[in-house]
């Protein structure tokens, strides 16, 4: 197990029992994150609390900023130095960070932004939600930009995808978002930190970390006076986005081989969907699940391939139906796409989803 400087190694036992929020924080520290900037908001505040206890022990910094806006801009500054940096918040706080996220994308800076979603819009509520799907995958800030968006479905994945997000961000020199929800943030499951795979990431030759007169200075900037220069920079960025789409799509398939009814669900609702599928399989209904792990890039190829043999798709989401748009685009009209949604902070029950699958099966 890794030990960081004079900080004690946290993995005293092989496996530990952690809250999802704690797992994110510990995984970030394990991944070499040395700067955390946050501002409290339920249901993600344990990330800040955990960082406050652990960061000083590994020679890092945990700072509670005066606002979410400050926290994201501090993250931008820290990322510009080439050091791994992150911020976290929950839905309304991410809206506040959106200007900073756009600047980070415009500056081509790698960092991690964690959104432990709660109900919205507005102040919404503190119960779990997935209603920031559009925001994360479409409109997290102004301008032509993408974030790599990872959607964990267990506390183990809260940890492993945090590590993966840092590697992806560094590899493609762009911000990554971990899109979790309040239930994943608060629930407790065992985590094994020895299961992580680490990538070789490129040297950060662009970092503004002091040159001592030995090289040309690095300038990190998102302002381009000349429209042609701005277009060139955006086009170059989209070339990298294309590589992300080609190489980094992640998803899990569960009983899809012979499935007539293919559920698509991410995060916590994928857990509900799996239980419902297992239940209906006992009565001979051929249902399966495709769980997107990357929401951007979205697994459109895999869904398109399944659409050649499935009879119908069913998305299960804790919002009014947002990911369903991406599923429809991926299915390309080859078969119908239905949706089951709960919102307001309500997690769909296994019974509800099971009932929906049974009704679809009866209509086939």
């Amino acid at each position: 197990m890794p030990d960081h400087g004079n900080g004690k190694c946290v993995e005293v036992a092989e496996k530990v029992l952690m809250k999802g929020n704690e797992a994110i924080a510990e995984a970030a520290i394990n991944a070499g994150c040395l700067y955390y900037f946050g501002y409290p908001i339920t249901p993600q505040t344990e990330i800040s609390e955990y960082m406050a206890k652990r960061m000083p022990k590994v020679g890092g910094l945990c700072l509670q900023a005066e606002s979410e806006i400050s926290a994201i801009n501090m993250t931008m500054g820290a990322a510009a130095s080439g050091t791994r940096a992150m911020t976290s918040s929950s839905s309304p706080g991410i809206s506040l960070k959106s200007e900073g996220i756009s600047y980070i994308a415009g500056c081509d800076l790698p960092c991690l932004i964690v959104n432990v979603q709660r109900g919205g819009p507005g102040l919404g509520g503190i119960q779990p939600s997935q209603s920031d799907y559009y925001q994360a995958t479409r409109g997290v800030g102004h301008g032509d930009l993408r974030l790599i968006v990872l959607a964990p479905s267990s506390v183990q994945e809260m940890a492993s995808l945090t590590a993966e997000a840092f590697d992806l961000a560094d590899t493609y020199r762009m911000p990554a978002m971990l899109l979790a929800d309040g239930a994943l943030g608060q629930m407790m499951e065992p985590v094994d930190f020895s299961l992580f795979e680490k990538r070789d990431v490129p040297e950060k030759e662009w970092a503004a970390n002091g040159h001592g007169g030995k090289r040309k200075k690095n300038i990190i900037n998102s302002l381009f006076i000349d429209p042609q220069e701005l277009e060139n920079s955006v086009v170059a960025r989209y070339e990298r986005y294309k590589k992300v789409e080609e190489n980094e799509v992640k998803y899990e398939e569960f009983m899809t081989d012979d499935a007539d009814i293919v559920l698509v669900a991410f995060g916590i609702t994928a857990r509900v969907a799996k239980s419902a599928i297992t239940a209906v399989r006992e009565s001979g209904i051929k249902a399966g699940l495709l769980r997107p792990i990357t929401l951007w890039p979205f697994p459109k190829g895999a869904i398109g391939a399944i659409a050649d043999r499935a009879k119908i798709f069913l998305t299960v989401e804790m919002n009014m139906g947002q990911m369903i748009d991406d599923v429809r685009l991926a299915v390309g009209g080859k078969c119908p796409v239905d949706g089951y949604t709960r919102t307001g902070g309500i997690i769909p029950s296994v019974d509800e989803v099971e009932d929906k699958i049974r009704r679809i099966a009866a209509s086939l």
């Binding site: 036992a13 029992l17 952690m18 503190i126 629930m187 407790m188 499951e189 857990r271 509900v272």
Partner: protein
């Protein structure tokens, strides 16, 4: 079960975040019904928005334990509210047994306002530990957490409950692997080790397993909600 014999007027269940305080509090309160006295369980958790004693209200009522729940528990109202009836109970002189489930770590600061009444009524304060929680995985770290709770609450820990678990994946070996840790924590704190909990649903029964010979085992019911 230890709590049946002890049954002081007030039993405070405290511990690190996620040590399993709510599960212990709910189970001990249900067991205390064996005394025949009225039993109350107060949810005084001001830090945890989701998983808390309020979730077990129905189960508690089923066993004849009266849950005292903050008005806004498990709603979208994000404020640290306490159940109003707790004050009247603590300040009275009834024959009831009161369990208080407090929030993790400095969540125990809420006890400060009740400390005088709790001391007057006579109390036990059980510190719940879990060897598999990383920030309290060493006995000295667990003891430090307990001292912080004592300092915030103005009350003294009087016993250790070993609730070491890996959730649904807990095995007999995991519990055995926590015995030395629990004993060391109790030794550092200078307080008795009340026992080692397990949920037979998950781990199976240990009766007849010689490796558990001589240990005080506390079988527990599941009290937290399953989402899927």
């Amino acid at each position: 079960m230890t709590t049946k014999n002890r049954a002081p007027a007030v039993t405070v269940i405290c511990g690190h975040y996620g040590a399993g305080k709510t599960n212990v509090a709910v189970n001990f309160a249900i067991d205390a019904r064996g005394t025949g006295l009225p039993v109350y369980l107060a949810d005084a958790d001001i830090v945890n928005p989701y998983f808390r004693a309020a979730d077990a209200a129905e189960m508690l009522c089923g066993y004849g334990v009266e849950p005292l729940i903050p008005l806004f528990a498990n709603s979208n109202v994000d404020i640290p509210a306490l159940p109003p009836m707790l004050t009247s109970l603590l300040e009275g002189n009834g024959n009831e047994i009161i369990f208080i489930d407090v929030g993790g770590d400095d969540g125990s600061v809420v006890l400060g306002r009740y400390a005088e009444a709790i001391r007057r009524r006579g109390y036990e304060m059980f510190f719940v530990i879990n060897r598999y929680r990383p920030l309290t995985a060493r006995p000295e770290d667990a003891a430090e957490c307990a001292r912080e709770i004592e300092s915030a609450s103005g009350l003294k820990v009087t016993g250790i409950v070993n609730n070491s678990s890996l959730g649904e994946e807990t095995t007999a070996d995991d519990i055995l692997g926590s015995i030395g840790y629990a004993e060391a924590t109790a030794r550092i704190m200078g307080v008795p080790l009340i026992g080692h909990t397990y949920i037979p649903d998950i781990t199976g029964q240990f009766s007849g397993d010689p490796r558990f010979g001589g240990l005080t085992l506390i079988p527990m019911r599941r009290a937290t909600k399953a989402l899927f």
